[in-house]
């Protein structure tokens, strides 16, 4: 197990290095350099040169990369001219918000998807299964921004039951006024659970067809006991690894939800940065997200292996 841990950790580090190189190269693939984009049309060539020099944009790429890497390891993710703030400081306010949104909606999605998927798998091809399939498929096929705007229209504007935007301010303020979080969390959860429940359903179906289930049934054990003890555990272990893999996808969904509900988290910050060609911010976010995902999937893999001892060897081989 320790050997496996070490191997996976080393692989994770390698992955991170690749991430930084790929992103760094992507962001510096521009011919003119960021100076013109940042300073705008009124900048004179002298201003552009001064800016480039001051920020080291005129050095060769490998040099820029290593300087940047050293700074990052000291906790300095750079400075954003568009936002007039350090990237670290910007992320310090944005990341907790997104974590809250993503965390709450993922928990909600799992809490709903697991029972729904299990039910569907156990009652495969029944009326219940078909109805739930119809509902989850509709949710899955609907663009998230439309779902969000519909919910705002109905619950906030027409019914006045909930506020139309997410609460502003720091995490403490947000937690003190949670009503504004309901719609964004529900929107993201609905989109997420639609795919989760299908996965759980498929996994359940697969488990129910396994030999051990058939054997248990043949031995005369009542069906619900079968479901609970064996199928549950085996069907759920892939869900853990699913969570780890889904994190980037959920973050993408959170961008849209943040835009609709006016929640300035990391996704929205990235979109702004992409539109404004704000490299330090884009690079910083990608790095933080990648680190989070790699660590997250590492933990998920460990959880997966812990849940299913049979697979430890196979997982260890990958």
């Amino acid at each position: 197990m320790t050997g496996f841990l070490v191997r996976r950790a080393l692989q994770a580090v390698f992955v991170l290095i690749v991430v930084t190189v790929v992103v760094f190269l992507l962001l510096h693939a521009l011919p003119e350099g960021p100076a013109r984009a940042i300073l705008g049309p009124r900048a004179t060539p002298a201003m552009l040169q001064a800016f480039n020099h001051a920020n080291g944009f005129d050095r060769p790429l490998p040099v820029q990369y290593f300087r940047w890497l050293v700074r990052v390891l000291h906790g300095d993710l750079g400075f954003s001219y568009k936002r007039n703030d350090s990237v670290t400081h910007l992320l310090a306010t944005a990341v907790p918000r997104t974590l809250l949104l993503v965390g709450l909606s993922t928990v909600l999605a799992v809490l709903v998807a697991v029972p729904v998927g299990l039910l569907q798998g156990a009652r495969r091809n029944s009326a219940v299964d078909h109805t739930l399939t119809a509902v989850t498929f509709t949710l899955y096929s609907m663009p998230a921004f439309w779902l969000g705007l519909l919910l705002v229209d109905v619950f906030a504007v027409r019914l006045h039951w909930l506020p139309p935007e997410a609460p502003s301010g720091g995490i403490v303020d947000i937690l003190l006024h949670p009503s504004g979080l309901i719609l964004p969390v529900v929107t993201l959860a609905l989109v997420t659970l639609a795919s989760f429940s299908r996965y759980v359903r498929a996994s359940t179906v697969e488990q129910l067809e396994q030999d051990y289930v058939r054997t248990a049934r043949a031995k005369g054990l009542p069906p619900n006991q079968v479901v609970r003890y064996h199928v549950l555990r085996n069907a759920l272990s892939p869900v853990v690894s699913l969570l780890g893999l889904s994190l980037p996808w959920i973050l993408g969904g959170s961008l849209v939800v943040e835009a609709v509900f006016n929640f300035p988290g990391t996704g929205f910050l990235f979109w702004n940065a992409a539109q404004g060609q704000d490299y330090p911010v884009m690079l910083g976010i990608v790095l933080v997200v990648a680190v989070g995902t790699v660590i997250g999937s590492l933990l998920a893999d460990l959880g997966y292996a812990a849940l299913d001892p049979r697979l430890r060897d196979e997982v260890g081989q990958s």
Partner: protein, 596 residues
């Protein structure tokens, strides 16, 4: 067991909603009598506090929503919706001239900093000394103008500063473009080059000024400390920064020692950022936490509903013009665009009324020339108040036919009579050259998108193909560069602005920057000797006819194609008075706001 969990969720949501809806409606039903919430435009950029704003931090909103509330300029332009000097809140009397018109005398009134120290000429001189060393990094710098065209600055007494220029200039131009940039800074607090130093006269030498400037810029770059840094606690305006987060989440608190004529009644004013104008409108439509907001133009039909919720809506125009820039040096279409009759034909195809009525939902104003017709101002003349090139497909077609083109409606119009004689296409235009252009413009703006598609459709009626290229704004800005025809960067042909030019911070509506041969922002390389003469005259001539001759000539010469500009619809709670009329530079006057 599993469905039970689901069924428990619904009452839980309703319970939470019931608890919260009570608090949210109460927030909007009983307006906070001591504060107001202002909705910033979507994706508002980050604010910058130090008054010598660097180029990459400058945008109009920075002045009107932030800096001017804290640090007042000497001369305030914008008076109750009119483009003119605001004598009530300016820090000095209108300038007088001596020395044959070469010296402007600025007499400061009795204003005080928030710590009680009087605002004197020394504070203006401090600003000036820093400006001289910082000009290359300053947003308002135009080579040859402030501070280059000032030969000396003297302070005869604590209330007076004299600016001597290198020649006689038009006083209006001096006031609107140069003196308007003066922003006194608290020399008794800021004249330091490191934290903890005692303020001295470091700014009196260029090296000392540079040190002070570098230190202050460094403080200005630390947005996290805007609310706490003692430097920013000494202000001249009616407001101070109470909290500042994320670049554009700002709360101002009233300056109790404000020495101006109108004292604030509100205790705090909050600027609220929005990710998109849909998000802002959702809050407005739900009667949420906005007191001073806006209705996006595409929701124009919802105005009556917003009014019904207790808001008053008004149209607001900015001091700007909008146009489409032709690249006169583009190797393919440059020669075609250089022909005046071609530009005249194109201008005849711009349906300004249709553009405003359709894509802008009626919330827009036409641009007829280089000086804005709206808002009301003393600079626009009679000729420029009307359209010199009214919408007419037949006239456009006639102009082309008369000059050697074969017009093919819904096909491609080509040059059939090349050459430089009468009735021929013109220099550099080959036989069979088609009228095909590509136009770039900022993406994501629904109204602009629609307008461009409508124009494309109109152009095709005369056989002109317009290829539409929407791109992110920064890409448009990066592509729209002044170039010569052999350069790679000269492949752009036309760029349509959303709001091509706002006269801010250079308020005087002259065209040196956009239409002068060496103007920073003359991306299309428009080059006309007479235009240059007339532009220069608007700077130096003291006769009002200079402005008239300038705008009449340029209106007809079409250095760019004039297009309509969008207006905004302000929505303010009816019980909040003092917010109207809207300022042409979007300046906020929260010290005049009162809750009924």
């Amino acid at each position: 067991m599993k469905l039970k969990a689901l069924s428990l969720l619904i009452p839980a949501v309703l319970l939470l909603a019931a608890c919260s809806s009570g608090s949210s409606t109460s927030a909007s039903q009983s307006p906070q009598k001591t504060s107001a919430v202002v909705a910033e435009p979507a994706n508002a950029p980050a604010y910058y506090i130090f008054p010598l704003t660097p180029l990459n931090n400058y945008n109009g909103l920075n002045d009107s929503y932030f800096q001017y509330l804290i640090y007042r300029p000497v001369y305030w332009i914008g008076d109750h919706g009119k483009v003119r000097i605001n004598d009530t809140i300016s820090l000095a009397d209108k300038p007088t001239y001596t020395n044959g018109g070469k010296t402007a005398v600025v007499k400061l009134r009795n204003y005080k900093w928030s710590d009680g120290t009087p605002i004197t000429s020394r504070d203006v001189l401090f600003f000036w000394n820093l400006l001289k060393v910082a000009k290359n990094n300053w947003a308002g710098y135009v080579p040859g103008e402030f501070p280059d065209n000032v030969t000396s600055v003297t302070t005869p007494d604590a209330q007076t500063i004299d600016f001597t220029f290198n020649k006689v200039y038009n006083p209006d131009w001096i006031l609107y473009n140069e003196l308007s940039q003066l922003s006194p800074m608290p020399q008794h607090v800021w004249d330091i080059s490191a934290a903890g130093q005692k303020p001295s006269n470091l700014d009196e030498t260029p090296a000392g000024a540079k040190a002070v400037y570098n230190y202050l810029i460094k403080q200005g770059n630390d947005a996290g400390t805007y609310a706490t840094n003692p430097l920013w606690k000494v202000v001249s305006g009616p407001w101070k920064v109470q909290s500042f987060a994320n670049g554009n989440e700002v709360t101002f608190v009233a300056n109790p020692n404000y020495s101006g004529p109108i004292k604030p009644t509100l205790k705090t004013v909050t600027l609220a950022p929005f990710t998109s104008d849909t998000a802002e409108f959702n809050v407005l439509a739900a009667n949420g936490n906005i007191d001073y907001g806006y209705v996006p133009p595409q929701e124009g039909s919802q105005i009556s509903r917003i009014n019904g919720l207790g808001f008053t809506t008004t149209r607001a125009t900015t001091w700007s013009i909008n146009y489409m820039v032709p690249n006169f040096n583009n190797p393919t279409v440059g020669p075609i665009l250089q022909q005046l009759y071609v530009r005249q034909a194109l201008e005849h195809l711009i349906d300004q009324n249709g553009w405003i009525k359709g894509p802008l939902s009626g919330f827009g104003r036409p641009t007829y020339g280089p000086v804005p017709t709206f808002p009301d101002n003393p600079f626009v003349d009679a000729q420029n108040k009307s359209n010199a090139f009214p919408f007419s497909v037949s006239q456009a077609s006639a102009l082309l036919t008369q000059n050697g083109w074969t017009v093919k409606a819904n096909g491609t119009t080509t040059c059939s009579h090349p050459g430089t004689g009468a009735g021929q296409c013109g220099k550099g235009i080959a036989n069979g050259a088609p009228l095909t252009f590509k136009v770039e413009y900022a993406s994501g703006l629904g109204a602009l998108d629609n307008a461009m598609q409508a124009e494309k459709s109109i152009f095709s009626e005369v056989g002109i193909t317009l290829n539409l290229i929407p791109e992110p704004l920064n890409t448009v800005n990066a592509n729209e560069v002044k170039c010569t025809s052999n350069q790679k960067s000269c492949s752009w042909q036309l760029v349509q602005g959303d709001l091509a030019w706002t006269f801010q911070p250079n308020y005087y509506p002259e065209g040196s920057l956009m239409f002068g041969t060496n103007g920073c922002c003359n991306a299309g390389s428009y080059n006309d000797a007479r235009a240059n003469e007339l532009i220069a005259a608007t700077h130096t001539s003291t006769s009002p006819s200079a402005m008239v001759t300038y705008q009449d000539y340029l209106q007809k010469q079409l250095p760019v194609l004039w297009t309509p500009k969008a207006e905004s619809i302000t929505a303010v709670r009816s019980s909040l008075t003092g917010t109207q009329p809207d300022d042409p530079f979007s300046n906020l006057y929260p010290e005049e706001w009162r809750w009924k």
